[in-house]
Structure formats: C-alpha cells, structure tokens
Subunit: 305 residues, 2 copies
C-alpha cells in the first residue's frame, strides 16, 4: 500500500490545513506512513501561521487514486472532498461538521459539535498520552482562533475556549494579541484576483433542492471589500452560469464588530430576504450580527429555500 | 424538552439492547434525562443476560416524534433506525458499523471498526473516569461475546478481546464457560413463530440497486434449524412479495464449528452463487467458514450484485 493521505475540505481554511498537519504528526507517533495533503491554495491567515513556525504547506492534491487509504479531517462531506472519494478507503474521520457522506464499511469516526477540529484533536493527544510541543500547540490554537473568530462565533463552545487557553500556555502566546494579529493577516486580499477571492473559502451547499455556493471572507472593513463590488458581481455571475447555481452568496464578515453583509446573486437570491427579513438592495443584504456560516447561514437559508 | 431517547437498530441483537442500557447509565452520570429504548423484541440470548442480572428490557418504541432528541447506538443506518429519524435531532452516535445516514447539523459521533459497540463504550467510561460496576461489566462483556461469537468472528479485533478480558474480571465470570452458555441461549428458537424467526436478526440492505434482507440465526445444529426449511421458505416468499425484495438470504450459523448455510430466495438469488462460487441446491447454499454478515456477507454480496 502507498502512503495514507490526510486532507481537509476543498478551499481549505486554517483549520483544514492545520488538521492535516497535526493529524499527520499524531499518526506518525504510531508509526503510520502518512502524508499531510490539501485540496487547494493556502489562504493568507494560514500562511501567517505556517511562516511564523517555518512549516511547509501540505502537499496539494486534486484527487486520489482508486483504493487509496485516506483520513478525512475537518469535513465529512462528499461534496467538499476529493472527486474520487467513493473509490478511496476512508480509514478515519476527525471532524466537527454534519455527516454528509456514506460508506459501505466501518471506520474510525470522531466528531463533536464544537467550534474547531483541534478541540477534538486535543482529546486524541491526551487520551493517547502524546505530548503537544510548542509548535503543535501554536498550530492547534491558531486553528481554534480562526474557526471561532477569537471565541466570538456562535459555534464556539466552552470546550474550545478551555482547550485554546491550555494550548496558548504551551505555545507561549498572548491569545488576544496573537489572535487579532492572526485574524487580521487573513483579511489581506490584496494579492488575490477576483476569482481567487470568490474561491478562498467557498462551500457548495444544497439548500433543499437549490444548488448554492456560500463564500465568506473576513475583513476589518466591509467598505474596503465593497470597493471591488462590481468586479465581484461579475465574477459571481460567471460562476453561477458555469455551475448552474440557483444562488451565490458572498458573505463579508467584519471581524472587529462581529457582523456581516453579503452580495447575493442568482434566481433564488430571495431566499436570503426571507431568511433574514431584510431587503436585498443593489444585490447587497445586511446580515446583522452574523459571523458563522455553519450556525447562522446554512441552517436558516436551508429552512427558507 | 422531553427525555433523550437512546436506541439501537431494528430487530435488536444483544449489543443493540445492551448499548442502549449502558449508554443510558453513562449519560445519567452527567445528569442527562435519558431513556433506554429498543426497536423490537428481545431475543433469547439477550433475555438470558437480562434475566441473569434482573434488568428490565428497554422501552419498546416504533418511532419518535418530530424534534425528539435521540442518541443512536450500534447503528448509523437510516434504514435500520426509526422511520422518522430525519425529523429527530441526533445528539450522538456510538457505533461500529458503516456510515449510512446524513445530517444537516454537527453531532457527537464516535465509531471504530471493532467487533462490538461496547469496545468503544469501554473507552468512554475510561476517558471520563466513570466506574464500571459488576452489572455494567457483565452487560458489556456479554455484548462483546455475542457480537464476536466468542472472539471467533473475523470482525473481532485485538481490542475487543482485551476489553472483554478486563470486563470479565470485573464481572467475575469465566469468559469461555459463560460465553458458550450465552451463545447457546441464543440458539433456542422453540418459542418463536416462523415469522418471528425470520425477523429475529434481519437487516435490510441495498446490494448496489438490489433490495435485500439478510437474516441470521445462530445454532448448535444447522440440521435442527433445517427441519423447518419448508415453513421458512414459505415465510421468506411472503416477505419477498410484501417488500418487493430482489433477494432474501436466511443465514444459519453453526456457532460450534464456525460455519454457515443459507436459504436463498428471490429473483436475484444467483448473486449468492457468484459471491461464494457455490451452487444453490434446493434453495440452500453452503457458506464455508462464514460467520460474519458484516465482513463475510454484505461486502461480497454487494460486489457480486
């Protein structure tokens, strides 16, 4: 058998990249021949963490061969995974999302409804008496800060906060100071093309029978991002056409004030009006106090689809 | 909110019943308001355990109301669960099977590819420093003996054996002696009607696009069970017609010699001939050395469907 490949979801965020690196480290402690992989480009926030620690990005993959043994981290969704997942052998899943895949064989599945995969990983380290060194701790706490928007997201649980505090002690960082620095690094869109921005953290979702992409970017200033509104809209229209989408929602989240606005396009754009009881004006909708796609967007959009 | 309902799969075996009882005990340690339930009659093997310990059977349920919070044990399969599962809220899954359900929300999911749910449960007790008393240990080890056919099934792992040994010490039982007594109790079919026998441990499966039921009974003498062959065939034909099945496979497993024969009926019966390279003679096929539906029947039947 070849190496066991470990990877997170498409358009990887910081948790997906860090999960593959940390899980690979964990598996090697048991002598397993694994490779940390990723399904897409590294974003600026993740780059900030990897550069700080001088760690290489996981190997970029577009698919896996038939029969490849894989470990899925930070996703359990066939639509967010490699195209050939059905012909791979999933050995393990470590996750904190919904279940959106089937297997014909038993596997190791470890998921909890917490804010970040690393909060689950932390337990695996503890249960198996594997030491978390300074580098691993920095990686893990960075992912928790990223996924919970420094504990401000409604997806954040007491456990995420507790684990992040313990990890920040090992990492030797001031969690508030480091956290804001990390999140701000992720708001730098200057080096990306419009197409790249639309894809940075885009997830394909089925809202009942409506095909949707819900993309999200973090920023310290929504107005700054909206300077590109016309170009973003043009890019979104192209993607809607290519993928025959019913709706594309581009959510711009203000990490300082914990609120969002979204550009919404597509024949089913009015789902958002019903979901948030707000009018779409010039393709833009106010999402007051919304920061979490998982908790505050996907369920309510599905309900109103 | 009402109580959280905990239940295993339809046509419950010993592991499904014991999982609901043991998980209820575990959840109550955290102050959770739970109720152990079951989706079907108690079999003779399970009855032997419950009578020995003077424990009541879990509450019989046929379905759950919309919005009921549930914990699934010993299954993660929508076809083996309550009909209204899609409108319930699955809080947790503790299992050792394949993944065959989807959710729109994150949940606690704990599964491992081991021989019995109790091997996973044992870890939960240990990780949470919850004592396993003599009664709970007897329940848990009984389920492991049942699911692994006293360690002879190919589904049995080193971990199942190790956990069973530790539990047998707490339970104060001789595992071989108690084990054979338990398994033999399960072979007593005398009090059941033909329809009940066909349903005792029957699982609906999709073999590619073919709808199948694969039922299994344990026995100390296959010939004894085959004395009812004509009546069993009549019952099977009735079920095939009622459920529009492509194939019904009634597997009779000799627990002393670790081998099986199966009565196979339905328009797709020849799947079994291809799967085992054996002829079906008078509706009966030899399954040499086969004892595990999960490892030695479902995958190979699916492959040949």
């Amino acid at each position: 058998m070849g190496k066991i490949l470990i990877f997170g979801h498409q358009n990887p965020d910081t948790d997906s990249i860090i999960s593959s690196i940390v899980m690979a480290y964990f598996e090697r402690k048991f002598g397993n021949d694994v490779e940390a992989c990723r399904q897409g480009a590294i974003n600026k926030e993740t780059e900030f963490v990897l550069n700080r620690l001088n760690i290489q990005a996981p190997t970029l993959i577009n698919d896996v061969e038939d029969g490849t043994e894989v470990i899925l981290v930070d996703h359990a969704n066939i639509k967010e995974s490699v195209p050939n997942l059905d012909n791979a052998i999933i050995l393990k899943i470590i996750d904190h999302h919904n279940v959106a895949l089937n297997t014909s064989y038993p596997l190791y599945y470890r998921a909890e409804p917490v804010g970040c995969t690393q909060t689950v990983m932390y337990k695996l380290f503890r249960e198996n008496n594997i030491e978390i060194d300074k580098t691993i701790a920095t990686l893990m706490v960075s992912a928790i800060i990223s996924d919970t928007l420094l504990f401000k997201s409604p997806t954040c649980t007491k456990e995420d906060v507790e684990v992040a505090k313990k990890l920040s002690e090992i990492a030797g960082i001031d969690i508030e100071e480091y956290g804001m620095e990390l999140l701000k690094a992720g708001t730098d869109l200057s080096s990306f093309t419009i197409d790249e921005i639309l894809n940075l953290d885009a997830k394909e979702k089925l809202l009942k029978d409506k095909s949707a992409i819900i993309a999200q970017v973090n920023t310290a200033s929504i107005d700054d991002v909206l300077k590109m509104k016309a170009e973003l809209e043009e890019g979104i229209r192209k993607i809607i056409k290519e993928k025959s989408l019913d709706i594309f929602m581009f959510v711009i989240t203000d990490i300082v004030n914990s609120t969002s606005k979204a550009i919404v396009l597509g024949n089913s754009a009015t789902i958002a009006e019903r979901a948030y009881n707000e009018k779409i004006v010039d393709n833009l909708i106010e999402l007051k106090g919304v920061v979490s796609r998982k908790k505050q967007i996907v369920p309510i959009m599905t309900e109103n689809a």
